[in-house]
Amino acid sequence: MAYSEKVIDHYERPRNVGTMDKEDPNVGTGVVGAPECGDVMRLQIKVNPETGVIEDAKFKTFGCGSAIASSSLATEWLKGKTLHEADHIKNTDIVQELALPPVKIHCSVLAEDAIKHAMEDYLEKHGKTMADLHDHEHEDAKA
């Protein structure tokens, strides 16, 4: 199976590989997947607590080329987004951007899960849940 150019680009020049201090209150960490399934993704976000903007994102992934590309793309998209905006990143966006074939869709699902887990971890550290995020969103909509 041939890979799309975008997958190859992200695979060969992965963006934002690295590790942040998971004890930092402003850092949210999401680890998804399992070694026996052949993919484990760890995605981290660093959020500005004042603005709710994701200022940095890092990943490390054990997995196939598409899994690495999906997580690399996710970190790229996350940077500069608010948590509300980040919550709207869907796996289908990743599939479309990377032109993933059907057998690799699970890689994008994993990336979406990793984003959710990282956000939940951050929110939990601040005594909030994803639901709070959405309540806030409704207030925004009303305003």
Binding site: P35, E36, G65
Partner: protein
């Protein structure tokens, strides 16, 4: 000599055809195109002569007589004919079959089909070295055992089962009449290693041309004719070719190619074995000396000289293949299989799925050079390091976390 890319290191999947083989085949497509079953004209006689000569060449390589060679389309068909043919022919004698869990699918699936039809199959499990011993087979024998089918060399690991020992054990234990039929899928073995069906007491043996620098789409089944005479129910009925065991017009040019491939393989076997072993040692030493966590899967010495299966823990196989894409290898990773399951062969060694996901099989061959091996070592070492730097598992291991104690989410 300059290095030509891409490099082919997947000789267990298939081999390039030796140009000398192609040369022998060519006349049989054009001038000598006859049907070897046409008994009454020159075109038929020419084709038949080619087929008969090839039969001798194959028989010589494996210590058989020409009449014992039945041409097929390849090892998958040979295995099907052997297993289903014996099961049907000997069903009044018994319905028990012995095989192993890490055989090729072309053996496993016919056995599974027979199981559904009411046959009883014992699936032997190898030790962690991947080897099936004669002792294990002996312990599984029953009064109603009609067939033992154990491959000679494993296609994923290159490990060598105790085939001569199994053959001799069966010959010593039983009378000619009562002996279960012994079949071996020798697809990876024949042409690379010395084969003697007489000495090793093999009754049925599958071989394929394209694994030994011959053409694809042709293979054979050796069927013992005396002491004991093995009988098979055919699975393809028709014109009664091949003593009724395999009907269908013979693939004359392919058969000529298989004969030639056997001839060259036999002549060059000793030197080629030595050469491949040297190259494989260079490859393994080169990789293992620089990547401490890398492990060779299966028995360390009882292996085909040109094959090595190495796991790079915490690095996923498909991503490594992508990184070294100018080198053609294969992986036990789920991502590279049609079924999206990690290699059942590696799992049979008790290695755990994550080791299977991390495995790469390197298959060296007749045209592999030292330059190619050195290039491969360099590429593999560099990219494994790159992927380790990207691996969350490797980071955890370095932090002293035992990843086996983590509760991973299901996915």
């Amino acid at each position: 000599m300059s290095l030509k890319l891409p490099i082919y290191l997947d000789h267990n999947a298939t081999t390039p055809m030796d140009p000398r083989v192609l040369e022998r085949m060519l006349p049989y497509f054009t001038e000598k195109f006859g049907n070897s079953a046409s008994r009454n004209h020159q075109f038929g006689w020419d084709a038949e002569e080619g087929v008969d000569y090839a039969r001798e060449q194959v028989a010589n390589l494996i210590g058989a007589t020409p009449k014992e060679i039945v041409w097929t389309s390849g090892s998958t068909e040979s295995n099907n004919l052997a297993i289903k043919g014996v099961a049907d022919m000997y069903q009044k004698k018994g319905r028990h079959i012995i095989t192993a869990v890490h055989e090729h699918k072309a053996v496993l699936d016919p056995c599974k089909r027979l199981q559904k039809q009411g046959y009883d199959v014992t699936w032997l499990e190898p030790n962690s070295d991947g080897i099936i011993t004669a002792q294990a087979v002996e312990a599984a024998l029953r009064d109603d055992t009609i067939l033992v089918t154990i491959m000679w060399a494993n296609n994923e690991l290159g490990t060598i089962n105790e085939v001569p020992e199994i053959g001799r054990m069966l010959r010593e234990k039983y009378s000619e009449r009562d002996k279960p039929v012994f079949h071996t899928d020798a697809t990876q073995w024949v042409g690379k290693m010395p084969t003697d069906v007489e000495k090793d007491a093999i009754d049925l043996l599958s071989a394929s041309a394209h694994k030994m620098y011959g053409p694809k789409g042709v293979g054979c089944l050796y069927v013992r004719r005396r002491r004991p005479r093995v009988r098979l129910t055919p699975i393809i009925d028709g014109g009664g070719h091949e003593r009724g065991m395999r009907s269908g017009t013979l693939n004359v040019s392919g058969i000529v190619g298989m004969g030639a491939a056997c001839e060259f393989a036999g002549k060059e076997m000793d030197t080629e074995q030595q050469r491949l072993l040297k190259l494989r040692t260079r490859l393994e030493d080169g990789i293992l000396s620089k990547i401490e966590i890398a492990v060779v899967n299966g028995h360390k010495t009882k292996r085909l000289p040109g094959t090595t299966n190495i796991s790079f823990p915490y690095v996923e196989g498909e991503s490594l293949m992508m990184a070294i894409k100018e080198i053609a290898v294969s992986s036990g990773s789920a991502c590279t299989s049609a079924s999206l399951e990690p290699s059942y062969v590696l799992k049979a060694l008790g290695l755990g799925d994550e080791i299977a996901h991390s495995s790469i099989r390197f298959g060296l061959g007749r045209f592999t050079t030292e330059e190619e091996i050195d290039y491969t070592v360099e590429k593999v070492v560099k990219n494994v390091q790159h992927l380790l730097d990207m691996s969350p598992l490797w980071e955890m291991v370095q932090e002293g976390i035992d990843i086996n104690t983590i509760e991973w989410g299901a996915h």
